[in-house]
């Protein structure tokens, strides 16, 4: 039973448009949420995080939104660039920032078309 789900395995977006990647979770104990980006033949890299006390966190072109009542988070990339093409994983933890208790989603492959 996957506690963190990314239901879209892939997404294609035109350069300059908004990319929206979605993630749902089932465990009410999750308190901290993260997004990672992964290029082929490389390991994941941390992108952005959000605590459950917030509903939005921005970092440049990347914004994460959290809807606790719906147990849903999303990552918005505006504007999308070809270099953003990668696999994006969402992850959740019951303890802020604890790598030992992370649960990952299965990932969404984003392709940004020039």
């Amino acid at each position: 039973d996957q506690q963190v789900k990314q239901n879209s395995p892939s997404l294609s977006v035109q350069e300059g448009r908004i990319s929206i990647l979605n993630c749902d979770y089932t465990n009410s104990m999750f308190d901290y949420f993260l997004w990672y980006k992964k290029y082929p033949a490389e390991g994941p890299t941390f992108l952005i995080s959000i605590s459950s006390i917030k509903d939005k966190n921005e970092d440049g072109r990347f914004t994460v939104f959290l809807n606790k009542s719906a147990k849903h988070l999303s990552l918005h990339i505006v504007p999308s660039q070809p270099g953003d093409s990668a696999v994006y994983f969402c992850a959740a933890s019951p303890v802020a920032g604890s790598a030992r208790q992370l649960t990952f989603g299965s990932g969404t492959q984003l392709t940004v078309l020039p």
């Binding site: 901290y32 390991g43 941390f46 920032g97 790598a99 030992r100 649960t103």
Partner: protein, 113 residues
């Protein structure tokens, strides 16, 4: 100065064989982690280490053994490989156990025939 390296990058082995995946870091980070990533699944933690000679189980430790005699190395051994252990294995390091300071290696793709 590669930071974190994994070797081999690709490995094919047979059921029942012992396999060791190596992870090496040059940062002297205290924490090191091993994850596996399977098709259609996210990363799952196998083992982690808080310091040399201190290791602990993660979510999916069965069938794996780790050791950490030196801060910079964290080998992962499959004592008797099974087909279900076919996966991509990622090592990660960090100054703390915090997710925000983790650095992942490039991964080892292991196929067990």
């Amino acid at each position: 100065d590669a930071g974190i390296t994994q070797s081999p990058r690709y490995k094919i082995t047979e059921t029942g064989r012992q396999v060791t995946l190596m992870c090496h870091q040059t940062w002297s980070h205290s924490y090191m982690f091993w994850y596996r990533q399977d098709l259609g699944h996210g990363l799952r933690l196998i083992y982690y280490s808080a310091a040399a000679d201190i290791t602990d189980k993660g979510e999916v430790p069965d069938g794996y053994v780790v050791s950490r005699s030196k801060t910079e190395n964290f080998p992962l051994t499959l004592e008797s490989a099974t087909r279900s252990q076919t996966s991509v294995y990622f090592c990660a390091t960090g100054w703390t156990a915090s997710t925000d300071t983790q650095y992942f290696g490039p991964g080892t793709r292991l196929t067990v025939l």
